[in-house]
């Protein structure tokens, strides 16, 4: 029963939470209006320029590079390795395996071996640097420990406790085609699998949503076309009380004060 829950129900539940959660967050952001133009100069003036800048932001984090080279190196390596590892795992999901997935297997393998290094650095800096420690919250450590646990269990599965690949592929393809086929798995594989499910469940509700959020960020996705009037969707009329301005008695007071030499 436990096996059935872990390998059949949990994957569907967590994937459902992941997809619905991410869509919910996107919907929440998308429906909230953008009242003001808050570009940060220098900003591109064309949509094309904005698209290129967002792609750049997502791929190599230029703002972070300007801010902190060491942190950039850690973050950049982590994300590159993460993508390689994810793409490498596609071979369990696709049948037949496409050529390009075959082609990155070696790179993905080494990325998998190396990924704990940037993760450990990102964790260590939160504990060592006093500013980073001050701002770190539970969620930051949770995400880092979770990713570390996933990557270390993955490495152990690769090196010491080789899993029977055919079983894994049968499991995943079975899930995809709604014909679940479970066999006996090593407990370490079960751990690796469940931790990924936990990651999927956690993803929409924590800081990991920064991945999608970047594209909604007004300071990054707005154009610097100041000639065009920016219309606030919830703009409301305001009354400027002209009567309030320069009331005659105040005028007389000031003039009187000036005559008596009180001014300046």
């Amino acid at each position: 029963m436990a096996t059935k829950f872990l390998f059949i129900y949990l994957p569907y539940i967590s994937l459902g939470i992941f997809i619905l959660g991410v869509l919910y967050q996107f919907w929440r952001w998308a429906r909230t209006p953008v009242p003001l133009r808050i570009v940060i100069a220098p900003a591109p003036q064309t949509r094309r320029g904005i698209a290129l800048r967002l792609i750049g932001d997502a791929l190599w984090f230029p703002s972070l590079f300007k801010a902190d080279k060491l942190l950039w190196a850690g973050g950049f390596l982590f994300h590159v390795f993460l993508w390689l590892v994810i793409l490498r795992h596609l071979r369990y999901f696709l049948y037949p395996v496409p050529g390009w997935v075959e082609a990155i297997q070696t790179a993905g393998l080494y990325a998998g071996y190396l990924i704990p290094i940037p993760l450990a650095f990102l964790l260590a800096r939160r504990l060592i640097f006093e500013r980073a420690l001050y701002i770190s919250i539970l969620g930051d450590f949770f995400a880092l420990f979770l990713l570390l646990a996933i990557s270390l269990s993955g490495i152990l599965l690769q090196v010491f406790f080789r899993t029977y690949i055919v079983d894994v592929k049968a499991l995943i393809l079975g899930l995809i085609y709604f014909q679940p086929a479970i066999s006996d798995y090593h407990w370490l594989f079960a751990l690796h699998f469940v931790l990924i499910m936990v990651l999927l469940i956690y993803f929409p509700f924590g800081k990991l949503m920064h991945s999608g959020g970047l594209f909604f960020s007004s300071t990054r996705n707005q154009r610097a076309n100041f000639e065009k009037r920016f219309v606030n969707p919830w703009d409301f009329p305001v009354a400027y009380n002209v009567q309030n301005l320069f009331p005659p008695e105040k005028y007389r007071e000031t003039l009187k004060g000036m005559r008596e030499g009180k001014k300046e």
């Binding site: 801010a67 902190d68 973050g75 770190s136 300071t219 301005l245 005028y251």
Partner: protein
Amino acid sequence: MKVPVPIPAIKIGSAGHQVCHPAKAKDMVKIDLPKERPPDWKEAMLKKMAEVLDKYRSVRLFLDICVKCGACADKCQFFLGTGDPKNMPVARADLLRKVYKRYFTLGGKLWGRANESAELNETVLKDWYVYFYQCSQCRRCSVFCPYGIDTAEITMAAREIMAAAGVATKYVTEVVAKVYDTGNNLGIWAPAWKDNCAFLEEDLKDTEGLDIKFPVDAVGAEVLLIPPSADNFVNTNTMIGYAKMFHAAGISWTTSTYCNEGGNFGLFLNYANLKKINNRIIEAARQLQVKKIYWGE
């Protein structure tokens, strides 16, 4: 990244004593804000917070996606100057983020403190009042944030929320009230403004022998100049610079006593005041039938 001053070690609470004076009731009334903090201030602030979250995508998004990487931490001049950790942009935003998490996210409602959320109470409000009025909304941090998180948006939201419950500083509210009274931030009355301009004309004639005008409320001029009011009063050399330039180029210009200030302190309070103050620029331009509007420096 070269920083002109050494990055200070964290000194908790080292800037906590630098508190702005609270607003006066007479100013608050003038700018359509509650005179004082009502007994149900907490509900008023949470109501305003819900409204702000529904109106500004930036606020909601920036509260959601910060990863606490700390890239902004040593970029704020107020942190560099004081070493108070709550002056790190990320920690400043956290003051608002914790309350947001407590009342507006599932995690905060379910897990409370474990999710780093905080009840809105006197202590939190005091921190808000101190540290959101120690942010100059300069947006330097957002240049370095990988997601462009703009602390100025957070600060503006927090100030708007506080203002809705009658919490604001004396300086800002006084300035906004002065704009409604006199047309500018320094509270220079129309006669005094004209007088200062006449004084500058005489001064130029006496010292340099130049016959240059400083027109006020001249209908039909080509350019309406909206200078900061300090140019008329303190930075008079700058004002002389404009006048000489217009004179040399032969462009007719004027200032307006209805609107002689470009700086808009409504930005530091709330949207309604921001818009009101800006609208008067257009009104002044229409009254004076000018063709172009120029900001002063």
